[in-house]
């Protein structure tokens, strides 16, 4: 009965979410900043184990294969966007800036998380490594929600900065996905030490090979004339295969399916069907996104006071990483474009990919530290989403002043 109610509630919420638009107009700015999707995480929390228990542990277990497919779907769709023909048209400076900003944020949060975990926990090094890498990988990702506010603001809509922010926000999650993939390959499967390093390294190779093989399967299936229905079957089959194999081996489903999508996007003969694949994926994209938000809330355990503090530290360290990354990565661009020094403040939103990386952690590690890391990260994502519109508008407005 409970599973039935949970499925009804989840489906309804995801449907409502897929139809909604961000609150705009007369609502106070703080209200608008809250209703950017984060409310669905809160609803998930309320429906979850800590409050109403509508979505209980058994329901979450029942939905595990489904979540596995959602994460595979997210990774594949993200990889599919890296079509080399499209990417090559983008300004190379913007591209490099996104990568550098992502890596600086990754390094900043990774070092801080590793230091704080060593100082404050007594978990095994492998578990700490997984936690630190996941926190850093998620921190690297930037969401697009805050940009909606810039584009709706009369003062900032016409500026060049929003396009740079959009660009960076679209690309830097790749750094996060790759970092999560590498991190889980190195630490989640095999004990990580100097002696067994080659053994651990093999899992990274296996991760990439899985992506390549599943991509090859998809490509070989679509070499011939394929109807839209057949394409849907092949797509679902490949996503379930890639995501399921990855999780069964405790590897990153996001990374494996990202590689799969990336390879599919870049094989010439498949390009003709790329649009059709995108059409299929677009049908379920928003529905699955909101479903993921609610499920993330249901997985989330409300943090106690020390973890609340840890979440604030995570927000601050990430902000430092973003600001430093944004500043250092755009110095060359600043010679020709109006790029404010604190452009990193426009990249505070953590977005769906950041959340997906955190949810993925639940599937590869069942240690107590994992639950704590999820609590911290999800709270931080909510805070970041709340702050992001305010920071983004001020960043864009400051750029506007410097132009005028």
């Amino acid at each position: 009965m409970k599973a039935l109610v949970a499925v009804i509630v989840l489906t309804t919420l995801a449907l409502v979410g897929s139809r909604r638009a961000f609150v705009q107009g007369r609502s106070p700015f703080a209200v608008q900043s809250f209703f950017t999707g984060t409310e669905f995480i809160i609803i998930g929390l309320l429906l979850g184990r800590d409050f109403l228990n509508v979505i209980d542990d058994s329901t979450l277990d029942l939905l595990r294969p489904f979540v596995c497919v959602i994460l595979g779907w997210v990774g594949f769709l993200f990889g599919l966007q890296f079509d080399r023909r499209t990417v090559s048209k983008l300004p190379s400076g913007f591209f490099a800036a996104s990568a550098v900003e992502g890596m600086i944020t990754l390094a900043t949060v990774l070092l801080a998380a590793w230091y704080l975990l060593i100082r404050n926990t007594n978990a095994a090094p492998d578990v700490m490594a997984i936690a630190a890498v996941t926190l850093a990988a998620s921190a690297t990702c930037t969401g697009l929600t805050a940009l909606t506010f810039i584009e709706n603001d009369r003062r900032t809509a016409s500026l060049q900065v929003p396009s740079l922010l959009r660009f960076v926000s679209s690309l830097d999650p790749a750094v996060g996905v790759v970092a999560a993939g590498v991190g889980l390959s190195l630490f989640a499967v095999h004990p990580f030490d100097a002696v067994s390093f080659p053994m651990t390294l093999q899992w990274l190779v296996i991760s990439m090979c899985l992506g390549l093989v599943t991509a090859w399967i998809f490509v070989s299936l679509t070499l011939t004339r394929t109807s839209q229905a057949e394409l849907t079957v092949y797509l679902l089959g490949v996503i379930a295969l890639a995501g399921g194999v990855a999780f069964a081996l405790r590897l990153s489903a996001l990374f494996v399916s990202f590689i799969c999508g990336l390879v599919v996007a870049n094989l010439t003969h498949v390009r003709s069907i790329q649009g059709r694949v995108m059409t299929i994926m677009a049908h379920g994209d928003r529905f699955l996104y909101y479903l993921l938000l609610v499920l993330a809330g249901a997985y989330w355990k409300l943090p106690d006071i020390p973890l609340l503090f840890a979440a604030l530290v995570y927000v601050v360290v990430r902000l430092v990483g973003k600001v430093a990354g944004g500043y250092l990565s755009t110095r060359r661009l600043a010679r020709h474009h109006a790029v404010p020094p604190l452009i990193g403040l426009g990249l505070v939103s953590q977005g769906g990919m950041g959340l997906a990386i955190i949810v993925e952690l639940r599937f590869v590690s069942d240690q107590p530290l994992t639950e704590a890391v999820m609590s911290v990260a999800i709270l931080a994502i909510i805070i970041n989403e709340f702050l992001a519109p305010w920071f983004a508008i001020r960043t864009a407005a400051r750029a506007g002043k410097s132009v005028s």
Partner: protein
Amino acid sequence: MVCDPNRCTSGEERLVIRRLFTLSAVGVLVWLLLRIVEISPSATPAESTFMLGFALLSAALLGEIVEHLRLPRITGYMFAGILFGPFVANLLSARVLEPLSALNEMAFAFIGLAAGAELKVAILRGRWRSILLLIVCTATVVMIGVGGFFIVAAPYLAFLGGLPPLQIFAVAGMVGVIAAARSPSSAIAIIAETKADGPFSETILGVSVAMDVVVIGLFAVATAVAGLAFAPEQGLDLVFVIEVTGEIAVSIALGVLLGAIIGLYLKRKGPQVSLVIVGLCFLVYRFSEMVGHYLEETHHLGVGLEPLLICAAAGFTIQNLSHQGTRLIGAMDRVALPVYVVFFTMTGARLDLGALATSWGIALTIAGFRIAMIVLGTRLATSLAGDPKPFRRYSWLGFVTQAGLSLALISQFESQFPDWGTGMATVLVAVVAINQLIGPVAFKMALEMVGEARRGSSPRKGTS
């Protein structure tokens, strides 16, 4: 090579070879993963997910391959299930399939909705006499024929252990009713695959869906009569017959209500129609199951709701009582193929080949006799209805398949008569397995012969 020599082109051969190569590669990948890499027992949901992916891909590939042999795709899907299921490769083991049972339940209800949506009153109106005669004649002839055959064969069936003649008659009645059951799910899948459209396919589908209702009712009567034969001191349990009648009526009423709700959602142009339909199908199945458990636990009633009937009634309501039939079919078409692939692959994986292996002789005889009775029944019905020659000649081919309902009735049989029911069930499951394998092939042949299978459904030419 593997193609029909009269039709096959070198492009098609290349396509089949390519498909076989890809299928082998997918199989080897999964086999390697399962054999070389140690997967922890806790990884079951993940294992089920990648097996789902494997099942989708391998079944779709085998479906394409068998299509080039002029066989229906669902035979390929079922063959994939058999090949990779517990009795052969054991990749799709019971442990792997268990977390995916929700998908199978959803697919079952979805197929019911699709079957209902395909029944158009405008076409059926002119065929009501044929439909009625087909139901009455085939049900009567098959029940009497197969039941009679069973009475003759009973002394040779060791597991019946010398039941008295009255009880043999009662069991024969139940066997006869089970033999009359059809498979609307297979019929709708073949119609969708061949894009068949016309009075023949409409009639076969209409009879298959209506026959499910008739069989449920008749089985209730047969069970009540059997109860009297086995425990005469308890008297005739007519309450059970009334309960089943209520079950059918409530299921149809709920289906009409569901149809009205979906119709309204379609009219309002609600979002994600395909996903909503899939979700609702899952809910209908689970709700029916829940009501069944509740009635059994609280009132000791052996009835519940019939998800297939609810969904068929809903589809029929939308198609005929609203203007949203085309939208419904369009939305269902977008997700229909994955649903059919999953459903029929799991059906194949769950086919009890063990039962078939132990009792193939008697099962084959009963299956053959059942088909002979279907031929007789359909000939009689179509002659009385004055149907055109192709109808008279090929109608029987559409009624061979048996599936879910038959298996559900067999399981009830087993639970009610534990002494000899298991042996009986083994034979009947084997009969269903045979019918399930040959039925879709027969129906596709029939659609091609009467000319209702569209040209687009013929094998595609491969690109070189």
